[in-house]
Symmetry: C2
Subunit: 214 residues, 2 copies
């Protein structure tokens, strides 16, 4: 048989792939994904241009893998926080920190979409992991008296949360947590709050706190 999984060739290959990705992340962090150059990366890892195509079929292929890793990193971070007992507030701070650690990584997932590009299916599965954590956190809060129209709607269209038993109220809170936090984070990371001297944590805190009350 060839390569049971840990042959020298295989180990070398995964090491070089990791090296390539490491340099790719550095480029993305400092100049954005549009400035990512396969040629430049190849030279940085010590090989010449086309050799890199032995490891990634194309530029899009490499970026897709980076997107996958970014999703994985976010899901793991959120899951770890949940395991440590974080509520919605705690999750908000964890996600804020994760986004700030590498804004371009955040935008790789949630930023400007490229028309025609479709994220691989497994990334939506990872996104569902994150959503499940948010749904769990949302369920810990008491639901309001009469369900709102949105809650009724979400309760009826629940296919995307798979078999999670969350109530309409919990789904609404999880969804709203997501949209509110993303709104704040993406505008902040994009520099739209520059020169506003805004206390972002105060804004996040009050927005998430409002979710607790409604």
């Amino acid at each position: 048989m060839t390569d049971p999984g840990h042959s020298p060739r295989e180990r070398y290959r995964t090491q070089v792939r990791a090296d390539i990705k490491r340099h790719a992340w550095e480029q993305i962090a400092t100049a954005g994904v549009s400035a990512l150059s396969l040629n430049a990366i190849a030279k940085l890892v010590g090989m010449s241009g086309p050799a890199l195509y032995r490891y990634f079929a194309s530029r899009d292929d490499l970026i897709t893998e980076l997107i996958r890793d970014a999703y994985r990193s976010l899901a793991d971070t959120v899951a770890a926080a949940a395991k440590d007992g974080a509520d919605l507030s705690g999750l908000a701070w964890v996600i804020r920190d994760w986004a700030r650690a590498d804004p371009q990584r955040y935008f790789l997932i949630f930023g400007t979409p490229v028309p025609g590009y479709h994220a691989p299916d497994d990334t939506t599965a990872i996104a569902a992991e994150v959503m499940a954590v948010l749904l769990d956190a949302g369920e810990l809060l008491p639901a309001g008296e009469p369900a709102t129209p949105l809650e009724t709607h979400l309760d009826a269209h629940r296919a995307w949360i798979y078999d999670h038993p969350a109530t309409g109220s919990a789904i609404r809170r999880a969804l709203t947590f997501w949209t509110r936090l993303h709104g704040i984070l993406s505008l902040d990371l994009a520099g739209q709050f520059a020169n506003m001297d805004l206390d972002l944590d105060l804004l996040i805190a009050e927005e998430i706190d409002a979710l607790r009350k409604h």
Copy 2:
């Protein structure tokens, strides 16, 4: 004197510039800003490659002008709605429609930032126009009893709204209107709600409605 402003040369020049921008917008709408090719545009308007540099100093220069136009379009749209008496809800629908009309135009302003790129100063002035409208709309709502910590903070750090006399409560509502709506719109336009069968208008309505109550 030369060119009082309406010489034949000048008129031809502005017409060609508009032509170039028109094709640029088409490219951006269908393939995103990263796929914008000066060469392709030049051929579409009937000139060969480098001739386009008579009209725009560089690719970045053209994009910057498109960003400026996008800001201008948004500000005009919002201002027109306000003149027609739109409240925060009405403004939300107008902005939603404006974003949907050309998602890539929306992302050109609010999408993934390019590290190192600084928007020209006049765009922040246009953004202030939009903010002024939101502040006006926020002032029409009654303020809650004790000001929240965020409202107190915003009241103290009000340099960015220039001389607008809005209260801390109004600033908070305008800011929150912006972050909430952007969170929803950007995730939707980016396709993050795909296959969720989500009634976006219901989500927007409840989020903006919650602002009225707090």
